[in-house]
């Protein structure tokens, strides 16, 4: 819980001087590394590994399919 608050504060603190981008200012947001789940295979693989070794599963998108690893 403490971590959640810390991350939220970090995000909000830098919010003060931010202006949402105009459509022609999205060059950097279009970079693959600036997008979420640009590499779908990678996200799926990492989450599948953690699902099979930890109790927690999910949160990264619905509809991925289960496996017999609880």
């Amino acid at each position: 819980m403490r971590i959640a608050v810390a991350v939220a504060c970090l995000a909000l603190a830098s919010c003060a001087s931010m202006e949402p981008p105009k459509p022609w200012e999205k060059g950097n947001l279009a970079r693959p590394d600036m997008q979420f789940d640009y590499d779908r295979l990678d996200t799926r693989t990492q989450q599948h590994i953690y699902t099979s070794k930890e109790a927690a599963t999910g949160g990264y998108g619905v509809g991925g399919g289960g496996c017999g690893c609880n």
Binding site: I3, V7, A11, E19, E54, A56, G64, G68, N70
Partner: protein
């Protein structure tokens, strides 16, 4: 009432804010490809093909345990101006033993294969994208099938995206040791989320996922393992990316809080730094993941079968114990000729009950470690 004399300085009258100006600009922005587009907000010009090979190995101190070698494929294709079709397949071949209890029972040895595939079709209509998908995962003793439905809604300036999604899954378990034959479970999952571009170099996403399922959740290969026949989880995932223009680097942060009706609470924090190098378009990404989980309510510490009460839920599965885990990894990616890209990834993972920072780790479980290597080849065409 007397009217005060008002002097208007006519040379400083402001130009009216109401402009016809935006009409041309808005119409121009509707032309394809005139501004960079964030993927998934519009039908891409090009398709993607991706092939990956994963080599995974885990072990507990002193012994090799499980190895998985898994090729996987993914492809995305635009169809016409408003449709996108994507699909993937993964083929896991696993061998080795599952993690040992800290007791005299020897671990079962697994030689198993898993094939999984999924297809998703998305239609873009104005400011919305609607996706329908289906997926299947098949192993010798386990079959999972399901379907998903997602709706994304984009704001006019495309700086905000709303997501609503639902997926239903049906699992059928037929353990090779004959325990609980023909068991099933059904589940449904809902997600609601928002993605917001905060500035030309900042973007944040937050998703809330609710999962509810009923049916057979026990592990048939672990003796006496009896888990509740219902499960609900809440997961809250927030991710944030920031691009540092001068350094040509991206900071990626992610945090997921997950509350499980089985009793476990987990926190996962991901930090990655994507650093572009000035040669050949290569990038290097060191990454860290910090994870903690508290034990499930019905988890009992070793020695087995301490704490077992006939008729109550029980599990000695160390995956439900209380522990912390850290992953340290690095990825190196580079563009090749002709639109091909290659990346290599190496990760090292370690689970340790002493690393549970929000309470006490479960006593008596051994440290678990794993490493995986991943090579990835992709092409935009």
């Amino acid at each position: 009432m007397a009217w005060a004399e008002v002097v208007v300085d006519v040379t400083r009258v402001e130009r009216p804010r109401e402009r016809r100006g935006d009409a041309l600009l808005l119409s121009a922005l509707a032309l394809p490809g005139v501004v960079p587009s964030v993927a998934a907000q519009s039908v891409p010009d090009k398709g993607i093909f991706e092939a990956q090979y994963l080599s995974y190995r885990d072990w507990q101190p002193g012994r090799n345990r499980m190895t998985v070698n898994a090729p996987a494929f993914y492809a995305l294709m635009p169809v016409g101006d408003t449709w996108v079709v994507e699909g993937g397949m993964v083929y896991d071949s696993m061998s080795g033993a599952s993690p040992l209890y800290f007791n005299v029972l020897s671990g079962a040895s697994i030689g198993d294969y898993r094939t999984a595939g999924d297809i998703k079709v998305t239609k873009y209509i104005g400011n919305q994208a609607v996706s329908v998908g289906t997926f299947v995962s098949s192993e010798q003793d386990f079959l999972s099938r399901g379907a998903s439905f997602n709706v994304q809604y984009f704001s006019d300036d495309r700086n905000r995206t709303w997501l609503l999604g639902v997926a239903g899954t049906n699992d059928r378990i037929n353990a090779t040791n004959g325990v609980a034959p023909n068991s099933r479970r059904n589940s449904i999952e809902f997600v609601a989320g928002i993605t917001q571009a905060l500035s030309p170099n900042d973007i944040v996403q937050s998703n809330l996922t609710y999962y509810t399922g009923h049916g057979y959740y026990s592990d048939p290969y672990k003796p006496l393992d009896t888990r509740p026949s219902q499960r609900q989880t809440w997961a809250w995932l927030t991710r944030y990316n920031h691009y540092f223009v001068e350094q040509d680097a991206t900071l990626k942060l992610g945090y997921r809080l997950l509350l499980d009706s089985f009793g476990s609470t987990s926190n996962a924090l991901d930090v990655a730094w994507v650093q572009g190098l000035p040669w050949y378009g290569i990038s290097v990404t060191p990454a860290l993941r910090f994870y903690t989980q508290t034990a499930a309510g019905f988890y009992k510490n070793p020695p087995f079968p301490t704490g077992y009460v006939d008729g109550d839920n029980y599990s000695a599965d160390t995956r439900l114990a209380s522990f912390g885990a850290i992953t340290a990894g690095v990825t190196v990616a580079a563009p090749l000729w002709d639109g091909w890209n290659v990346s290599l990834r190496a990760d090292y993972y370690r689970q340790d009950p002493d690393w549970q920072v929000f309470g006490t780790g479960s006593p008596g479980i051994q440290i678990f470690a794993a490493r995986w290597l991943q090579v990835n080849l992709s092409k935009n065409f």
